[in-house]
C-alpha cells in the first residue's frame, strides 16, 4: 500500500508496534474509523487499546448518565461528581481517551443508535457494540451487512468472570505468511442472527458451555424486556426454566449448561476488571488484525472464563 508515509512523530511514537505489524498496517490503522456503542469496563479497555494503536478516529455512542456502578471497572471515569455531572458516559470517556493519543480523533455521537440510518454506519470500518439487547445486536449487524462496503462488526460482553466476543467480517480476504510465502486466505462469516440460529445439536460436541449459557441469559433478558446485564441471582429460577425449554427444543441435555455457570453469569451488571482487560485486549487485537488485513482473525466467537483460565475460539456457523 502506498498511501502517504508515516510522519516522523508517528514513527517515533509507534516504533515498537511497527516492529510487530509493519508500517503498512500502521498506515491503514491511521485511516480507519471505529464506532463504539455501549461503554463499560471491557469497552473502556478496548477503546484504550485502539486509541494507543493509532486508529484514525473513534466515535462513541452512549447517552446513559454516569452512575456509581459505571465507575466500577471503568478507568476512563474519574470518580469526581463535579467532573461528570450532567455529562453522558460517552462524553466523559471521550475526554479521557483524547489524552491517550493526540493523533487520534475521538468524538461523541448522541441519540438512539437503532434510529440511525444506514448512511451513518457507512462512515465506519469497524463497529463494536456492547451492553445491548439481542434485538439491537441483530439490527445493527444487519445495517452493517446492507452496505456495499464491508464493515467489521463485533459484539462484546462480560458477565461476571466470563467474557464473550462475536465477530462478523462477512466475506473476508486476508494474507498471511507461511514460511517465506505470503498466502491469500478467505473466510465466510455468518451474521449474528444466523450464527445463533444454528441448531445446538448441529454444533460440535465440545463447544464451550459458556456459549450456551450466554444464549440462555440473552434470551431471558429479551423475553423479560430487560436491559443487557440487568439480571441478578434472583432471576435464577426463571433462567433455569428457560434453559429447560431451550434444551428441549434443541434436544441437548440440561447438564450442558450447568446451574453453577448460569449463577456465575447472573451476578448482575458489575464486571470483573481482570476479565475486562483480557477481553478488551483480545478484541483490540482482532480489530487491529481486521483493519490491517494481517494475521488470522478469529471466527467467530471467543470466550474467556477466569475459572478455568481458558481463552477459547469457537466457530459457530452452519456446517
Amino acid at each position: 500500500m502506498n498511501g502517504e508515509e508515516l510522519t516522523e512523530q508517528e514513527t517515533a511514537l509507534y516504533d515498537r508496534q511497527i516492529r510487530v505489524w509493519g508500517a503498512d498496517a500502521q498506515r491503514r490503522l491511521s485511516k480507519s474509523h471505529i464506532l463504539v456503542y455501549g461503554i463499560k469496563g471491557t469497552v473502556a479497555e478496548f477503546c484504550k487499546n485502539i486509541v494507543l494503536a493509532g486508529v484514525g478516529s473513534v466515535t462513541l455512542v452512549d447517552d446513559r448518565a454516569v452512575t456509581q456502578e459505571a465507575l466500577s471497572a471503568n478507568f476512563l471515569i474519574l470518580p469526581d461528581e463535579n467532573m461528570y455531572h450532567g455529562k453522558t458516559l460517552a462524553d466523559v470517556c471521550c475526554d479521557s481517551l483524547k489524552e491517550f493519543n493526540p493523533m487520534v480523533h475521538v468524538s461523541v455521537e448522541k441519540g438512539d443508535i437503532s434510529t440511525f440510518g444506514v448512511e451513518f454506519f457507512e462512515k465506519f470500518d469497524v463497529v463494536v457494540i456492547s451492553c445491548c439487547s439481542l434485538a439491537k445486536k441483530k439490527l445493527i449487524n444487519q445495517m452493517c451487512r446492507k452496505l456495499p462496503k464491508r464493515i467489521a462488526f463485533y459484539t462484546v460482553d462480560c458477565r461476571g468472570s466470563c467474557g464473550e466476543i462475536f465477530v462478523d467480517l462477512q466475506d473476508y480476504k486476508y494474507s498471511k505468511k507461511k514460511l517465506e510465502e505470503t498466502v491469500e486466505c478467505q473466510l465466510e462469516y455468518p451474521s449474528f442472527e444466523d450464527a445463533i440460529a444454528v441448531p445446538w445439536k448441529a454444533l460440535p460436541k465440545r463447544v464451550s458451555k459458556v456459549y450456551f449459557a450466554m444464549r440462555v441469559i440473552e434470551q431471558f433478558e429479551d423475553i423479560e424486556g430487560r436491559n443487557a446485564g440487568q439480571t441478578s441471582v434472583a432471576d435464577l429460577p426463571g433462567v433455569l426454566k428457560l434453559r429447560k425449554e431451550l434444551c428441549e427444543t434443541n434436544s441437548v441435555k440440561e447438564s450442558q449448561i450447568p446451574d453453577a455457570l448460569l449463577e456465575r453469569l447472573l451476578i448482575g451488571t458489575s464486571e470483573y476488571p481482570p476479565v475486562c482487560a483480557i477481553i478488551g485486549g483480545i478484541l483490540g487485537q482482532e480489530v487491529i488484525k481486521a483493519i490491517s488485513g494481517k494475521g488470522d482473525p478469529l471466527k467467530n466467537f471467543f470466550f474467556f472464563d477466569a475459572m478455568d483460565g481458558k481463552g477459547l475460539i469457537e466457530d459457530i456457523s452452519k456446517p
Partner: protein
C-alpha cells in the same frame, strides 16, 4: 463480581510490583480497579517517547520523569483512595532486602531483564513470598506462578545464553548484517566516541599486523592540520578502505570466502560535502542533532544507497565533533540517541556493502543494534489481567488452581489463552534446591578475578558475593569491610586459583553466598588443562544444573480433562524473536563489553539442544516467553 471473601483478601493484601513499564502500567490499573488498596511499585526507569504507544499512564509531558511516580499519580486520579508507594530505584539496591520482601503477600514482576528477574526470584525464595512472573513480546506472552517448595522457581529451567559472535567474525569475516552492526556499534563507535582506555579490537586482528599497532593508535586522533571533513574522510578511508586492503593481504582467509571490496570516500562521494556551519557551533542537547535531518533524509524505513550511507556517516561524525564535542570520550551506544543510531546504521551499511551483505534501513538497524523487542498494548493488557487472576488465587491460597498461562498468536486447539498446570520444583535446581554445581577450570591459569566475574557474577547472578573454602574467606564484597581485608581480597583477585592463600585445586569445594539475596550454593572444582577458545570462551565450564527429570507417564491433562500434550504450538513460539543480545567472545582478547552486557546465563553446553525459555526482553516491558513446548509437557506437573 468478586465474592466477599475474595474482596476482603484483596483489600487486606500488600502487593509489591516490580516494573512500571508496558506490563506494569496495565497491571497497576487492573490491580486498582480490582480493589487492591496497598500497592508498592519499584522501577528505576524514566519515561521515553517510544513507551507512549502502550504505557497508557504516561503522556508526552512526562517524558524524562520516573515511571513509578507518574504511574502512581495517574492511577490515583481514578482510584484516589488507595495507597500506592512508588520507588524510583533499582530493585537490586540493598534496601530491598529479604526483610523488605517479607512485608508483602505477593510479588508481581513486570520486568525487562533476566538479571533483575533472577534477583527477585531469589529474594522471593529467601523471604518465602509467592511470585507471579510475566513477560510479553509482540502478540506472545506468559504468566507463571512461583511458590517456594510447591512450584518450580523462575530459575528451575536454564535460560539460553545470549547470542554471541566470535570476535574474528566481527573484525574480519562478517557474513550477516548483524555482524556489521556489532562492528559499527561496539568497535567503531566505541573507538571514535567512547572511552579511549577501553580495549578495542578495531585495528588488531589477523595475526600479522604487529607492525602497525602504535601507528593505528594515532589514526583515530584528529590531527592538528585537518578540518573535521578531512578527518572524517580519513577515518572512512582507513576503516572501509585501508583495513579491508590489509585484511585482503591475508590470502588464507579468503580461500573459501568472497573477498570484500575496499571502499574509499573519493570513489563514492566525488564532490566535497558543503559545510553549512563552521565548527563554532555550540554543543547542544542530545537528540536535537540529526544527520538525516541535515541531509533531508526523511523516512527511516528507506534503505539508503552506498552514497547516502557515506554522506550520513560523514555528517554524523561531523555533528558529533562539532555539536556534541563534550561527550566524546564518554559515549556509549544508546538506541534512543538518534545521531548514534544514524552513525551506526551508516557505518554498518558501508561495511555490509564492502562484504556483499544486503543493506538495511535505519529502522531495522536500530532494532538490531538496540536489541529492541516488539511490543503492543493489547498483549500487555491481557497478561496483566492474567497476573491479577493468579495473584488473587495466591491470596486465597487456592493452591490447586494455579496456572501458568500462555498468550498465543495463533490458536492451538482452539485456545488463544492456554492455561497449563505449574511444574514441580526441579530437584537439581541450584537456586531453590541445594544441589552443588561443578566447575571445570584451569586452576593454575585462571585467576580468582575470572571466577568472580565470569561465574559468580556472570553466571550465578550474584551482586554481593562471599566466596569461601571451608571456613576461610577468599573474597567478599561489602560496604563495611576493614581496609586490610579489602587489600587482601584485591590481591587475591589477581592470583591464580591454585596460588590463593588457601589454594583452590581439583576436588576443592567452594561455597558462594550472596548476602543480599540470602542465597548460597556449593561448587565442586575440577581442574582441566585445555579449553576451546571458540566454544568455551570463558576458559571454564559450569555444569550440574540440568533439566528436571523426564517423567513421561506424568503427562497429566489440565483443567477438565483435555490433554494439552500433542497440540502445543512448538513452532509458533520458537519462531518468535530470539534474544539477540550481542556479545563478542574471543579466546585471549576480551572484546569491548558495553556496560549493559549480561553475562548472566548459566552454561548451556549440556542443554543446548533444548532451550527452555527464550528470554525476549523488551527494553522496558519484556518478557520471557515461552518454552520449548515439547519438553514442557514432559516435566512433572504439580
Amino acid at each position: 463480581m468478586a465474592s466477599e471473601e475474595q474482596l476482603s483478601a484483596i483489600k487486606r493484601a500488600k502487593v509489591l510490583m516490580v516494573g512500571a513499564g508496558g506490563i506494569g502500567c496495565e497491571l497497576l490499573k487492573t490491580l486498582a480497579l480490582s480493589g487492591f488498596q496497598d500497592i508498592h511499585i519499584i522501577d528505576m526507569d524514566t519515561i521515553e517517547v517510544s513507551n507512549l504507544n502502550r504505557q497508557f499512564l504516561f503522556r508526552q509531558c512526562h517524558v524524562g520523569q520516573s515511571k513509578a511516580k507518574v504511574a502512581r499519580d495517574a492511577v490515583l486520579r481514578f482510584r484516589p483512595n488507595i495507597s500506592i508507594t512508588p520507588y524510583h530505584a533499582n530493585v537490586k539496591e540493598s534496601r530491598f532486602n529479604v526483610d523488605f520482601f517479607k512485608e508483602f503477600d505477593v510479588v508481581l514482576n513486570g520486568l525487562d531483564n533476566l538479571d533483575a528477574r533472577r534477583h527477585v526470584n531469589r529474594l522471593c525464595l529467601a523471604a518465602d513470598v509467592p511470585l507471579v512472573e510475566s513477560g510479553t513480546t509482540g502478540f506472545l506472552g506468559q504468566v507463571t506462578v512461583h511458590l517456594k517448595g510447591k512450584t518450580e522457581c523462575y530459575e528451575c529451567q536454564p535460560k539460553p545464553a545470549p547470542k554471541t559472535y566470535p570476535v574474528c567474525t566481527i573484525t574480519s569475516t562478517p557474513s550477516k548484517f548483524v555482524h556489521c552492526i556489532v562492528w559499527a556499534k561496539d568497535l567503531l563507535f566505541a573507538k571514535l566516541f567512547g572511552d579511549k582506555n577501553q580495549e578495542n579490537d578495531l585495528n588488531v586482528r589477523s595475526s600479522d599486523t604487529g607492525n602497525s599497532s602504535e601507528h593505528s593508535e594515532d589514526v583515530f586522533e584528529c590531527r592538528k592540520d585537518e578540518d573535521i571533513e578531512q578527518y572524517g574522510r580519513r577515518i572512512y578511508d582507513h576503516v572501509f578502505g585501508h583495513n579491508i586492503e590489509v585484511a585482503l593481504s591475508n590470502e588464507e582467509t579468503w580461500k573459501n570466502r568472497n573477498k570484500p571490496r575496499p571502499i574509499y570516500s573519493k570513489d563514492v562521494l566525488h564532490v566535497k560535502m558543503t559545510k553549512e556551519n563552521g565548527d563554532t557551533e555550540k554543543d547542544c542537547a542530545t537528540g536535537d542533532v540529526s544527520a538525516m535531518a541535515s541531509l533531508s533524509l526523511k523516512n527511516p524505513q528507506d534503505i539508503w544507497s552506498l552514497a547516502e550511507n557515506s554522506r550520513v556517516f560523514l555528517e554524523a561524525l561531523r555533528l558529533f565533533f562539532s555539536k556534541r564535542g563534550k561527550e566524546i570520550g564518554n559515549l556509549t551506544f544508546d538506541k534512543d540517541d538518534q545521531l548514534a543510531v544514524e552513525f551506526v546504521t551508516a557505518a554498518a551499511n558501508i561495511r555490509a556493502s564492502s562484504f556483499g551483505i544486503p543493506l538495511h534501513s535505519l529502522f531495522e538497524a536500530k532494532g538490531i543494534a538496540g536489541n529492541i523487542v516488539h511490543a503492543v498494548a493489547t498483549t500487555n493488557a491481557i497478561i496483566a489481567g492474567l497476573i491479577v487472576i493468579e495473584a488473587i488465587k495466591v491470596l486465597k491460597k487456592d493452591n490447586n488452581n494455579y496456572r501458568m498461562t500462555y498468550c498465543l498468536e495463533h490458536p492451538s486447539r482452539k485456545l488463544l489463552l492456554m492455561p497449563v498446570e505449574p511444574y514441580e520444583p526441579n530437584k537439581s535446581c541450584y537456586v531453590c534446591s541445594e544441589t552443588p554445581l561443578s566447575l571445570e577450570v584451569n586452576t593454575r591459569h585462571s585467576k580468582l578475578r575470572d571466577f568472580v566475574e565470569k561465574i559468580v557474577k556472570g553466571k550465578l547472578g550474584m551482586n554481593f558475593p562471599v566466596i569461601m573454602k571451608g571456613a576461610s574467606i577468599l573474597y567478599e564484597v561489602g560496604e563495611d569491610l576493614e581496609d586490610d581485608m579489602v587489600a587482601i581480597y584485591a590481591a587475591n583477585l589477581e592470583k591464580a586459583l591454585s596460588e590463593l592463600p588457601s589454594p583452590v585445586t581439583s576436588g576443592t569445594v567452594l561455597t558462594v553466598e550472596d548476602l543480599q539475596q540470602e542465597f548460597s550454593c556449593s561448587i565442586n572444582i575440577k581442574h582441566r588443562e585445555e579449553f576451546d577458545e571458540e566454544k568455551e570462551p570463558d576458559g571454564m565450564v559450569l555444569s550440574g544444573w540440568v533439566e528436571a527429570p523426564v517423567d513421561k507417564d506424568n503427562n497429566k491433562p489440565n483443567g477438565n480433562g483435555e490433554s494439552t500434550s500433542n497440540a502445543l504450538p512448538t513452532e509458533e513460539i520458537l519462531e518468535g524473536e530470539k534474544d539477540v543480545e550481542i556479545q563478542e567472545t574471543s579466546g585471549g582478547t576480551e572484546t569491548v563489553a558495553g556496560k549493559k552486557r549480561k553475562l548472566s546465563e548459566v552454561d548451556e553446553s549440556r542443554n543446548q539442544k533444548k532451550p527452555e525459555k527464550l528470554d525476549l526482553d523488551d527494553e522496558d516491558d519484556e518478557l520471557v516467553i515461552s518454552d520449548d513446548w515439547e519438553s514442557l509437557t514432559k516435566k512433572k506437573r504439580v
